[in-house]
């Protein structure tokens, strides 16, 4: 990657010169969860963010690796857009969202000089960056590394699964919205998981109904039930339905801690319940 491409910091040396196959930078990460979806716009980044926040509230140290190179949403969701990425002897230092360093982030969003510029790369270049994100980020000790992915099953997915394969137990959390159009794409995603040997921890149905703030009548704007049905058909756990919640949207837009600040909001019970199930499910994943 040359300096003409608008990178905001110097590149760490490549894996070939230093790390080869040794998992040094991921050695102290206990669990890795990939958040996937066949369809775009279903809320992968939202679920990744809220899962991280909920796990932090349970006292866990969490990292989020955002490998959506074309549409990196994670920095903004933590009010971290524009933050610089520094280097240490082990590579890139992830961006911490708080003084306690309980949540750390890495995203291509931090590395672009002009955030409004499109990142248009072919497979090999994307693969190379993803490999670097896996081997050259000094994550340190983490209970969970949540990996937020782009939609579909593309070069980025193959790259991240292959890069992570040597490491800790890998689980996949699949996000869908209720309607059939989304569910069809998710079926493809589950096939991808099967073919690549990724264990599916469960399905989350997002945007599951909208409660009118005026009269509390809940309308299923995106139909209903697809996520649960899909989980049953595929024989994977159904982790829960998260309703559309303008407070959740606003909280993400402003980089706030939804779990801390909106405990009475419609999406709160669902999100915390999903985090609980993830925590409970981890021993099963390990065996």
């Amino acid at each position: 990657m040359t300096s003409s491409e608008g990178w905001r910091c110097a590149q760490p040396r490549t894996s070939q010169t230093r790390f080869s196959l040794e998992p040094r930078n991921l050695a102290s990460v206990q669990h890795i969860i990939l958040v996937l979806s066949g369809k775009g716009g279903v809320g992968k980044s939202t679920i990744s963010t809220e899962l991280a926040l909920a796990l932090r509230h349970e006292g866990k140290k969490v990292g989020i690796l955002d490998v959506d190179l074309c549409g990196p949403s994670i920095p903004r969701m933590f009010r971290a857009q524009g933050k610089a990425v520094h280097q240490c002897d082990r590579g890139w230092v992830p961006v911490f969202v708080d003084q306690e360093q309980s949540i750390s982030l890495m995203s291509v969003g931090f590395l672009l000089e002009k955030p409004d510029e499109a990142v248009v790369w072919r497979g090999p270049k994307k693969n190379a960056l993803i490999k670097q994100f896996v081997s050259d980020v000094a994550w340190g000790e983490l209970d969970f590394l949540v990996v937020d992915t782009p939609p579909g099953t593309s070069d980025e997915h193959m790259a991240i699964v292959e890069a992570l394969r040597p490491y800790r137990p890998l689980g996949a959390l699949v996000v869908t919205t209720p309607q059939a159009v989304s569910v069809g794409d998710v079926r493809r995603e589950l096939t991808f998981c099967r073919k690549t040997g990724l264990q599916v921890m469960g399905v989350v149905e997002n945007m599951s109904g909208f409660a009118c703030p005026h009269c509390a009548e809940c309308t299923n704007v995106f139909s209903t039930g697809g996520g649960e049905e899909l989980a049953q058909l595929a024989g994977v756990p159904f982790l829960g339905s998260v309703p559309l919640d303008p407070d959740l949207t606003r909280s993400l837009e402003e980089g706030r801690d939804f779990i801390q600040e909106f405990p009475k909001s419609p999406a709160f019970p669902a999100l915390t319940s999903i985090a609980q199930k993830v925590l409970q499910g981890m021993p099963a994943l390990l065996s």
């Binding site: 040359t2 003409s4 491409e5 608008g6 066949g38 369809k39 775009g40 716009g41 279903v42 980044s45 074309c70 549409g71 949403s73 903004r76 969701m77 955030p115 409004d116 510029e117 499109a118 990142v119 248009v120 790369w121 072919r122 090999p124 270049k125 782009p150 939609p151 579909g152 099953t153 593309s154 919205t177 309607q179 059939a180 159009v181 989304s182 069809g184 794409d185 493809r188 909208f210 009118c212 703030p213 005026h214 009269c215 009548e217 309308t219 704007v221 995106f222 139909s223 559309l244 303008p246 949207t249 606003r250 993400l252 837009e253 402003e254």
Partner: protein, 300 residues
């Protein structure tokens, strides 16, 4: 087509092969020689095949799940309300082709005749072609698709694209650019997490010199079926599409909120239908003036 360097001026631009970003690009010599887009014979073939299509509108979004496919289908239906207008809807979202489902054509297959792929007809004057009809193939499909579809005489070709500024985008824009695209409609939802991806899409359009017909903000307002009051599902914390369009000097075509139904039939007087009709009219006006501009260029 080899990898595109950051800051690529475009294979057919005056700076092709000569810009600072061109240094080290494997295509540099090719572009500098002016051979650029003409090198790929498929471009000419597609241009020839697509000659019978009067207007081509691409529907883009930098972000997934904003309703691009839904909008494309509605735009196609809306244009086809006039029985004398022949409309084709092309779905090239290789990652997740939604058009077959949205148009009720799941399970259909395209047929190959002597003159190429024949589309599937939804109405007499509305035909649909989708990579979804071809089964799970990837890579190189777009080129073959565009080259081999038997278009016939079409007034409007609506192209539903994959989200993000991916290689699929570059492929289709490259191939269709030779045959002149009227413009792009870009779909977004009101919240900043969508807008930040859509700004990239707009920047992509500027870079490849694709005219922008305008932006449509989807999922703007929710009208409760019970109490009829309006609320916002996705609060526009940074001013929504309106603010972005003002900032970037791009037209805002309209705001819609749809529930994924064809409400031309089911709710012809609803605010959403009216919004769509206005958007469709503006799209037609843009295409009409684009055509006369092209004629002027040809004559001058």
């Amino acid at each position: 087509m080899e990898e595109v360097p950051h800051g690529c001026p475009g294979a057919d631009s005056a700076q092709a092969g000569r810009g600072a970003s061109c240094q080290g690009c494997p295509n540099q010599q090719l572009c500098a020689s002016g051979a650029g887009a003409a090198l790929d014979p498929a471009v000419e073939e597609i241009k020839e095949k697509i000659r019978t299509v009067k207007h081509k509108v691409l529907v883009f979004s930098g972000k997934g799940g904003v309703g691009k496919s839904t909008f494309s289908a509605h735009l196609a239906h809306g244009l086809a309300e006039d029985e004398n207008t022949r409309v084709a809807l092309l779905d090239i979202d290789i990652c997740g082709p939604s058009i077959p489902k949205i148009t009720g054509l799941e399970g259909e297959q395209v047929h190959q005749s002597g003159s190429g792929w024949s589309p599937v007809y939804v109405e007499d004057n509305l035909e649909v072609t989708s990579v979804g009809f071809l089964g799970p193939k990837k890579n190189g499909m777009i080129q073959q698709f565009l080259r081999d579809v038997d278009w016939g005489d079409i007034d409007y070709l609506i192209v539903d694209t994959p989200p993000s500024t991916s290689i699929e985008h570059l492929s289709v824009v490259q191939y269709l650019a030779a045959a002149q695209i009227d413009g792009a409609v870009i779909i977004t939802t009101p919240q900043e997490v969508s807008l930040q991806d859509v700004r990239k899409e707009i920047s992509f359009c500027h870079k490849v010199k694709l005219p922008i017909i305008g932006v449509v903000e989807n999922m703007s307002t929710f009208v409760c079926p019970k109490c009829k009051k309006e609320s916002q599902m996705f609060p526009p914390t940074t001013g929504g599409a309106e603010a972005m369009c003002q900032d970037l000097n791009v037209p805002l075509l309209g705001k819609v909120c749809d529930k994924g139904q064809s409400f031309f039939v089911e709710a012809p007087d609803s605010p959403a239908t009216k919004a769509y009709k206005s958007i469709i009219q503006r799209t037609q006006e843009f295409c009409g003036s684009h055509q006369s501009n092209n004629k002027n260029h040809v004559n001058s």
